[in-house]
Symmetry: D2
Subunit: 132 residues, 4 copies
């Protein structure tokens, strides 16, 4: 029920404060949601065929402890809540060993190419129910 | 009382959805806060001398309408609330002509080089009071 | 004959080495080329209508002196050479007061939506000749 | 003798042209060089202790075929040439199955905290000789 994505902090992720630039935690979290979607069977062909993509609608993010260059990054992702057209992801960025860097609730909305909210494909809704 | 920063959407800001990548609104907002701080008399020399820098502690962001390549970006920033060691910025990213792309409340905390919260320099607190 | 674009170094541009992250000079240079194109009368409507966009084909970049947070950035851009479908830009990133951070030759190629090289729109070729 | 680093294209890497933003190939290549250095026994403690870090001095990059969202990325890295204070890396970004996206020669220079070129730590020079 929790999906885990692993990466590492590289130079590109840091800033001259010596730590990860705040906006870049959102990149780690987006990679994790992408891997979750791919794991659910989602891909670009399906996305084009069904004319559906996911966009971020809102973010509530708390930055707890700064991560530094070469730190291990683990993003734990779960579906906290969902409707027919949206998913609220609860995501925790940590070192995988008890140190939490950042927590967020990210709402992703399923839209068509004109960015109008649309019901998610049934196959995905079914997977979420099963997964949740 | 509202500080305005102007820029434009370039290729680096967009993603293959055809619009500005969600995390990049935080970059626009950070540039605006930096310009606001510089306008207040803050700079890197003062930062080093006083051993103080600002880090983002939390973000609440709503993405309202997607901005696209070459769109004008206006970031309006004001101090919504502040304590001795933190500032809650209310920031609106728009095209400067009525179209709002993104709104956020960003809490910045004044810390020392060890990332411990510290009171802001008095000169800055005075400016904020005067400005607010 | 030289087009000047001005910006500043913000946190997003730096890394934990304390200086601008090497790849980000390419962002400054791309913004400058975008402003040059816009100045030439290019825009997204024209781009869609004519089915033409510019992509970077090659980069030769020398990093000379590191730029730091809040440094002024001036990008001087000129057309060093061009063919019917490509432009070699000579770009210098400096502080506008004698300190050169980075120099590059960037080849941009005019392509269609399928990324096949195509002759540039005549209006642009004429402007380049006039400008060069 | 060739070091392989694997990743994937995410939204953050792409631009509204629908493909990977040119500067972001340099990020993939930097991650690969970081992993190579870590594999050689380099880490941040050693870097601090010895007062040595690596900075990019020059880049020659050819963009061959655009990578797209969710494409597999393989970066093959080898030492093409080195001196006491620099390494010329030859790096190829591909899908790992014959499609080459980008090739580059990246010169990294070993510097101290003042960004003055310095001889590399002997342990690293020895590893490079052994590796090359």
């Amino acid at each position: 029920m929790t999906f885990t994505y692993l990466t590492r902090v590289y130079y590109e992720d840091t800033d001259c404060g010596g730590v990860v630039y705040h906006a870049n935690y959102l990149k780690f979290m987006e990679r994790a949601r992408s891997e979750w979607l791919l794991d659910m069977g989602w891909d670009m062909n399906l996305s084009s065929e069904l004319d559906r993509l996911f966009v971020v609608k809102s973010v509530q993010m708390d930055l707890i402890k700064p991560a530094r260059l070469y730190d291990d990054i683990q993003v734990d992702t779960k579906v906290a809540r969902n409707g027919r057209s949206f998913i609220d992801f609860e995501q925790i960025v940590s070192n995988g060993a008890g140190v939490i860097y950042c927590k967020a609730i990210v709402r992703a909305v399923c839209v068509n190419h004109a960015f109008r909210p649309c019901a998610m494909p049934k196959v995905l809704l079914k997977e979420i129910k099963h997964d949740g």
